[in-house]
């Protein structure tokens, strides 16, 4: 007769003779190797602090198992709650035309005169009709490009028709435009203000970096006009109406802290430190734009420390990716981020409708298609029904192959509860959707960031933990004031 029952958990030889133990729902505990060996050999003293900690984290139990399974099941359901709503994020490409010629353009954008790459009205209408067939009570329509403002009439049509559909559907409807902001006018801003549209733009860092990475088609830099228009957007739509994304090229790596400082100067309170995705021009020119994943990780860690220090010195500023991971580590909830889900969020959480009505399982799948590889096409809004698009064998097969719980290495990975899978990235990098984890750049980056975050959690320095919690709660810390929270 065993003195206690072990419950499902994963473990990892952490650092300095410590083990990291994570149960099936993401609750974690550090233990010494000796305690770990005692635990799996059923030699733990039931009165010991370690035993009680493991019991409270539901890594073992000495009571009836049925209620424990039910409690863990409830927590598991919360972690997987993204599955219940089905597709929430609907990306629409009103045009593939763009006035920028970004070095790493991942979508293979077309020139400003290439009007055949615009979405027509009937395709736009059919797209909105399909979007509203989604069972999700929350619908976010995100305009991608090309540059959506080059086809603003279609953007307006989609917004107004969606609002009209929503009079009867009564969903939580949200609009976002992903724009380089270079073409925005006061008239457009007034319209976006009236329809509560958020702006997502791109800022690659300092003037030199941004102009180098994101020039206009005529070769001129876009930094001055972008930063001027960020201010204008805030005047019309409010301080929090605009967010920005950066993409790191080879030229960016040594300037990560300067990029963070530039975001602060431009009035942003968050940054998403993104590595280069291997699509479109980024893939074709990887030799000149790319870098070793280890170099990105080094730069990321340097910037991360810089950002923590900025917060410790009294300025609230979030690193978005770390914030998403911390939310998954330190709270019972899922992140609502398609790349951090298992099964993958492709099609079931986010989907993209291209200018020609073709539907793809993700933006990256659309990027591949723009380069001629339509492997991840779901069909076309003008030819297929909702059932045919979303409930096809192709989608089911893709999802079956994107469950971390079943993938080699991931199935035993201690970080599994917090991680996700991107089958399209695996396909782009390795030629097949499962891929070999040891060759995955995403896995290397995620593992490094998880390790970095868990080292901080293990260290449990109070001011630093206050900063990390403030990113999750989005409530700035007050420097010098003790914040009450318990880290694991």
């Amino acid at each position: 007769m065993r003195p206690y029952q072990l419950l499902p958990f994963r473990f990892h030889d952490f650092k300095n003779e410590n083990m990291l133990l994570v149960n099936e729902v993401g609750e974690f505990l550090f233990s010494s190797k000796e305690e770990f060996n005692n635990m799996i050999s059923y030699k733990l003293d039931p009165e010991s602090e370690t035993f009680l900690d493991l019991k409270s984290k539901q890594i073992l139990t000495d009571t009836e198992i049925e209620p424990v399974i039910k409690m863990l099941a409830t927590k598991y359901r919360t972690k997987k709650s993204f599955l219940y709503n089905f597709t929430t994020l609907h990306m629409v490409v009103p045009t593939l035309r763009c006035n920028s010629k970004c070095k790493y353009c991942q979508v293979s954008s077309k020139s400003e005169e290439a009007f055949k790459y615009d979405m027509d009205k009937s395709t736009a209408k059919r797209t909105v009709d399909l979007i509203f067939l989604s069972p999700s009570p929350n619908i976010k329509i995100e305009f991608q490009g090309g540059e959506p403002l080059l086809s603003f009439e279609i953007v307006k049509y989609i917004i107004e028709y969606a609002e009209q559909c929503n009079l009867t559907k009564k969903k939580q409807l949200e609009f976002v435009i992903c724009t380089n902001l270079t073409l925005i006018t006061e008239e457009m801003l007034k319209y976006l203000q009236n329809h509560k549209v958020y702006i997502s733009t791109s800022l690659d860092g300092t003037m030199a970096l941004h102009n180098n990475n994101r020039p206009f088609r005529n070769g001129q830099g876009s930094y001055d006009i972008v930063t001027k228009n960020i201010k204008k957007v805030r005047e019309y739509l409010g301080e929090d109406s605009v967010s920005a994304l950066m993409t790191a090229t080879n030229d960016s790596l040594e300037y990560f802290t300067e990029i963070v400082d530039e975001y602060l100067v431009q009035g942003f309170s968050a940054i998403f430190m993104r590595s280069l995705n291997p699509y479109g021009s980024a893939k074709r020119d990887m030799y000149s734009l790319g870098y070793r994943v280890e170099d990105f990780i080094e730069s990321y860690k340097r910037a991360f420390k810089h950002i923590v220090n900025i917060n410790l010195n009294g300025t609230f500023f979030v690193e978005c990716y770390a914030s998403l991971l911390l939310g998954k580590i330190l709270t019972p909830f899922s992140a609502g981020f398609v790349d951090l889900q298992s099964p993958s969020g492709v099609a079931i959480c986010g989907v993209i409708y291209n200018h020609d009505g073709n539907v793809y399982v993700s933006d990256e799948a659309r990027m591949l298609a723009n380069d001629g590889d339509t492997t991840f096409s779901m069909g076309n809004v003008n030819e297929n029904t909702y059932q045919e698009l979303f409930h096809s064998d192709k989608i089911v097969s893709l999802l079956k192959k994107s469950c971390l719980e079943c993938l080699p290495i991931c199935s035993h990975c201690v970080f599994q509860s917090y991680c996700g899978v991107d089958p399209i990235r695996n396909y782009a990098e390795q030629g097949e959707v499962v891929g070999n984890r040891m060759m995955s750049t995403v896995c290397k980056i995620n593992m490094a960031i998880f390790q970095c975050l868990f080292e901080l959690i293990k260290e449990n320095d109070k001011p630093t933990m206050d900063v990390l919690w403030s990113w999750i709660t989005r409530k700035p810390i007050v420097v010098g004031k003790q914040v009450s929270h318990e880290s694991n």
């Binding site: 799996i40 399974i69 409830t74 598991y76 290495i409 035993h412």
Partner: protein, 131 residues
């Protein structure tokens, strides 16, 4: 080719640890590890090998006397010492993988039950627990 596998040229000693009859260097430059199937399961042996596929070429073959041979061949022009280091890493990794399998067995079907329960409540869970 098979004949060469069985010709152990010399025994290797790593870090003072006598790995006699476990790790050997073959004539053709490959490293061979012999594992006893009564100690390690196939799943652990394969999972450990899979984890090192980015470092070198690995072949797993059955041997006599309830043993399995794991063969390491350079993939990225590694030196002999580097290949030995990979083989040593493999020894630790296979132990780690076997521990995971052993621990997993102690949950019985608890993981399956909690996932099922999360999405569709199970009647009489108690009767279905198999540990």
């Amino acid at each position: 080719m098979k004949a060469r596998f069985n010709k152990n040229i010399r025994k290797l000693h790593f870090g003072g640890l006598d790995m006699e009859n476990i790790i050997t260097k073959l004539e053709d430059g490959r490293i061979q590890i012999k594992l006893n199937k009564s100690v390690y399961e196939k799943e652990a042996i394969m999972a450990a090998a899979y984890k090192l596929t980015n470092s070198c070429f690995i072949i797993v073959k059955p041997l006599e006397n309830n043993q399995l041979g794991v063969y390491f061949e350079p993939k990225n022009n590694q030196s002999e010492d580097e290949l030995k280091a990979i083989a040593k890493d493999y020894c630790n990794e296979v132990l780690d993988q076997q521990t995971r399998l052993d621990v997993e067995k102690r949950y019985g079907n608890i993981r399956d039950l909690l996932v099922k329960q999360a999405f569709s409540p199970i009647e009489n869970i108690k009767d279905k627990i198999n540990i």
